[in-house]
């Protein structure tokens, strides 16, 4: 125990006052002859033991009271190891910086963050009453702290409410903000208390140490480091990266998952089982052994139960930091598509057949499309809903009854691809299926005959490259697509009808639409204004034909637009690009009820985030249905490296005095004089009560 004003202890001699009064102030009692002395004697006999006890209590209370007051005025403090050192120049304005980074989730017997909370509470309790304090929670997002104040109760509540994040923490930034919050405080002493595990990811030693502006000069504040890991290493293995992609070459609905794991500790991990989960079910397992600091990559193959967007995860055995031993992903598993190809101009010569190239493109090896070829008469007898897509290739206008079935099929969610040819009569088509087509057909335009060079054939000019249909077309593939020549094509009416959901995905270089898309009900209709054989163009023999037709089929079946791999990171945002006619109004996170902030962008996309929790996120439309495929949000692997900053490095950065804190060399000064004052007040009250009950 130490005393701020030890000379006040001289006042403890006052404690002798009751004894001295008892000894020397024995006033001569007044003699009183009294007739009823018998009653006085009897009363005295009855009360003598009680009175003796009461006198003893009074004497003790008064002595303690007179002892407590001067001792309290001497300002005693209990000195406890591991606390805050008393500032040499008196009280100091203090900022408590508490690390909330992912590393603080590390757990052995208890989590580092629970220790951090306890250390912060302890640091708060050990401050002198005249020392103002502020709190700086240091996580992925940091706000400037309020100026230091004296509301300890609010700060205790704030410390209790702190939670560790899944992201990183920039201690340099937090220390800078904390230092700035202390600048305005009039106390000459400034103190920064840093409660952290001091991992290499949270502290940049190349950045300048915190300084506080005092007038025109920068001064170094007193820095107290509270190492919640108590100098120990934090062994950790974690998943560095997971890449999941369809593996059609391995079989239908096969998924190939390649993951990279790293051991960031100084010891070998032994045999680590790595489990692949798809759709919440463990579907494959592998083992890997990681040496100290080693990285290993493994690939697992598994078959998804169904096509479409499938959520999965790779899971390692949990260690001290279990959060980075699981990494979620979403993979688009190609669905097997059934396409009814209606051949409007069959031919005994295969390459002259209208559907020859189209069917060949769809049925190419590795394609998930299963085409069924029919002539119109047979096709109209088919049950359309059994197919994902209907491709009407150069087909005469169907009967009104078939047209009605076609309309119902599309509006119910089916995909319809219509290509032109000599069999197509614009008036009949417009009459029967005008409402279904993206635009009304007009007339056939000839840009030149096949083989003719005098008349320049049409080429694709304006293509919506960012549309999912054209996303694979980059570089030479794009040139190949643009090189296709179109000699004849159907002109369609200009401009979309009002309220019509039609897009021109590609147009010829003369401006005439080449590929149009319309949404009808829940389904989609794609109109190619030329042919899919060689009659009107040479597109069918171009390399770009096969991928475009496969993607068109997949797109019409609704399985293509979400193929773009999307993955978010903790603390970052992600741009979602929904279909033009779809709106993302909510993104639901892995925790029930957790909603992620949305910021619509002018181009129709939506910026989501920042994300605070890893897991699978689901974009929803206004009706609560899926507006897009789900996506995964993963941890930043840099935060999983729990390599700690060495004490020597901390000493060089903050100074020797600061580093003594984590090593346990500093001593906390716990004030006890306030308790003594409270005790004195209680004693005074008891003494008064005892006197009153006399």
């Amino acid at each position: 125990m130490s005393f701020a004003h030890p000379w006040m202890l001289l006042g403890t001699s006052l404690a002798l006052l009751p004894l001295l009064v008892h000894l020397f102030d024995r006033r001569r009692p007044r003699p009183q002859p009294f007739a009823a002395i018998a009653f006085v004697l009897r009363s005295h006999r009855r009360t003598t033991s009680r009175l003796r006890l009461r006198r003893l209590l009074l004497y003790t209370l008064r002595t303690l009271l007179l002892l407590a007051v001067p001792v309290a005025l001497a300002r005693p403090h209990l000195v406890r190891p591991g606390g805050l050192p008393a500032h040499a120049a008196g009280p100091a304005a203090t900022a408590l910086v508490v690390d909330r980074s992912l590393a603080m989730r590390f757990r052995d017997e208890e989590s580092l963050f629970e220790r951090a909370r306890a250390a912060a509470r302890e640091a708060l309790a050990s401050l002198l009453p005249e020392e103002p304090v502020t709190l700086v929670p240091c996580g992925p997002e940091v706000e400037p702290p309020p100026p230091p104040g004296f509301d300890r109760s609010r700060l205790r509540q704030a410390i209790d409410a702190l939670e560790p994040s899944y992201g990183g923490a920039d201690l340099n930034l937090c220390l800078g903000l904390a230092a700035r919050s202390l600048e305005e405080n009039p106390l000459p002493g400034k103190r920064l208390v840093v409660v952290s595990a001091f991992t290499a990811a949270s502290l940049r030693l190349e950045a300048p140490p915190p300084r506080i502006r005092a007038g025109d000069k920068l001064v170094t504040p007193e820095v107290v480091l509270r190492d919640v890991a108590a100098g120990r290493a934090l062994p950790n293995h974690f998943l560095l990266e997971v890449k999941a992609e369809p593996a059609p070459q391995a079989g239908p609905r096969m998924v190939q998952v390649t993951f990279t794991a790293r051991n960031a500790s100084a010891a070998e991990t032994g045999e680590l089982p790595a489990t692949l989960e798809l759709g919440g079910r463990a579907v494959a397992k592998s083992f890997l052994s990681l040496g100290p600091g080693a990285t290993a990559q493994k690939t697992l193959l598994a078959r998804a139960e169904a096509g479409g967007a499938v959520a999965g995860a790779v899971v390692l055995p949990a260690d001290g930091l279990a959060e980075d031993d699981r990494r979620d992903f979403v993979v688009q598993v190609p669905r097997e598509l059934r396409v009814l190809v209606v051949d409007g101009a069959p031919s005994a010569v295969r390459y002259r057949d209208e559907a020859f190239f189209f069917e060949a493109a769809l049925a190419a090896p590795g394609s998930p499309v299963r085409p069924t070829l029919r002539d119109p008469e047979a096709a109209w007898r088919e049950h359309f809903p059994e197919y994902d897509v209907l491709a009407l290739l150069n087909v005469p206008a169907p009967t009104a009854e078939v047209a009605g079935r076609l309309r119902a099929y599309v509006e119910g969610g089916g995909g319809l691809l219509v290509s032109m040819g000599d069999q197509v009569e614009p008036e009949a088509w417009n009459q029967r299926l005008g409402g279904l087509l993206p635009r009304q057909l007009r007339l056939v335009k000839s840009a030149g005959a096949t083989g003719e060079t005098a008349v320049r054939p049409a080429r694709l000019g304006d293509v919506a490259w960012d549309h999912p249909l054209f996303q694979p077309f980059t570089g030479k593939a794009r040139e190949g697509l643009l090189a296709a020549r179109f000699f004849r094509y159907m002109l369609v009416e200009g401009g979309p009808r009002s309220g019509d959901a039609t897009e021109v995905l590609a147009a010829f270089d003369d401006g005439a639409p080449a590929l149009l898309l319309a949404r009808r009900g829940k389904g989609r209709v794609v109109l190619l204004t030329s042919t899919v054989d060689r009659d009107w163009s040479d597109f069918a023999i171009r390399t770009s034909f096969l991928p475009l037709m496969q993607r068109a089929a997949a797109y019409l079946a609704g399985g293509l637009d979400e193929r773009e791999r999307m993955e978010g990171r903790i603390g970052q945002t992600l741009v979602l690009r929904p279909e033009p006619l779809l709106r993302v109004v909510e993104v639901r996170g892995p925790s029930s009820g957790a909603r992620v902030p949305l910021h619509p962008e002018p181009d129709g996309s939506v910026r989501v985030g920042p994300f605070h929790e890893p897991g699978i996120y689901r974009p929803l439309d206004a009706g609560g249905a899926a507006a897009m495929a789900p996506f995964a949000v993963v941890l930043d692997p840099a935060q999983s490296d729990l390599t700690r900053v060495k004490a020597e490095a901390l000493a060089a950065y903050f100074g020797e005095e600061a580093v003594r804190g984590p090593a346990g060399g500093a001593e906390a000064s716990v004030p006890v004089w306030t308790w003594l004052l409270v005790a004195a007040a209680v004693l005074f009250f008891l003494e008064g009560t005892l006197l009153r009950t006399a």
């Binding site: 003699p31 007739a35 006085v40």
Partner: protein, 294 residues
């Protein structure tokens, strides 16, 4: 006439004057009392003897019993009263103008006046320590002066020996009499009061004036006090404030017990504070006795 308070009485020197003043106050009170004029009321029958007034012959009784009976009335009843005054040392205590003994002698003197004025016999028995001074009951007017003179000379001394007083009176009063005890009853001998009350068993009429000082009743002491016994060598140094409540409990229990014992024995009991107006005390006593006789 205003009641005679203790301060006024104290200004009067000597028992004679005090007793007279008290008596006059009582008589003045009696005139206002609705119970006055009772002395001519029928009291008892007596067989006729020569010399009895013929006008008091009860002719109805003669008709019934064929013998002559004479009616006797109140004022003709020859009451014998003995005033037993406790003059022990404790009766000398005073916190105000009058000591307990002075109050006792004033009350005894006033009662003597009243008795003699009614032609009743009044006697005196004074307890001083363990000795007694007696004046036998007489109705003569000259006897009154002897009574008052004896009261005048009383000085407090010795202890309180109520048992001895009871035995003494029992021996001295062979015939039925009214015994008026004036004392603080501070006798520590067990059953002392009961012995006094046993006089009732001998057909004596008994009245007790329990005379106490206000300081004894209220214990107004605060400081450390050395209490000295007035009858022996006992002493006690104590902080009076600390034992006050306990003292009052003890005294209250004593008074309650005394009151109950008197009530059980059908004895007139009256607590008299020395600061009380004495004529009011006597009037209350007389009124209560009158009520009992009716």
């Amino acid at each position: 006439m205003a009641p005679l308070d203790a301060a006024t009485i104290a200004k009067l020197a000597g028992v004679k004057l005090r007793a007279r003043a008290v008596m006059e106050g009582v008589l003045s009170g009696l005139h206002k009392s609705p119970h006055q004029g009772q002395s001519v009321e029928f009291a008892e029958h007596k067989e006729y003897a020569p010399g009895d007034e013929l006008r008091h012959l009860d002719w109805k009784a003669y008709g019934k019993f064929d013998r002559f009976y004479v009616k006797r009335f109140e004022h003709e009843t020859d009451l014998r009263a003995v005033l037993m005054v406790d003059a022990s040392a404790s009766m000398g205590y005073r916190s105000g103008p009058l000591s307990k003994l002075e109050v006792a002698t004033s009350l005894a003197g006033a009662l003597s006046y009243l008795l003699v004025r009614q032609q009743d016999a009044a006697g005196l028995s004074v307890l001083v320590g363990d000795t007694f001074r007696d004046l036998p009951p007489r109705a003569a007017a000259g006897h009154l002066m002897s009574l008052l003179g004896a009261l005048e000379q009383l000085q407090p001394a010795g202890g309180t020996h109520l048992r001895a007083a009871a035995d003494h009176l029992a021996e001295r009063l062979p015939r039925r009499a009214l015994v008026v005890v004036l004392s603080d009853l501070f006798d520590e001998a067990p059953d002392a009061l009961k012995r006094i009350l046993q006089l009732r068993a001998r057909k004596h009429d008994l009245a007790v004036f329990h005379i106490l000082d206000p300081a004894e009743l209220e214990f107004p002491f605060d400081d450390p006090t050395l209490f000295l016994s007035m009858e022996d060598e006992r002493r006690l140094e104590v902080n009076a404030r600390e034992i006050r409540s306990s003292y009052l409990e003890e005294l209250g229990a004593f008074l309650e017990e005394t009151r109950e014992l008197c009530a059980e024995s059908d004895v007139d009991y009256q607590l008299v504070r020395t600061d009380q107006p004495l004529d009011a005390v006597l009037l209350e006593f007389l009124a209560r006795r009158q009520g009992r006789r009716r």
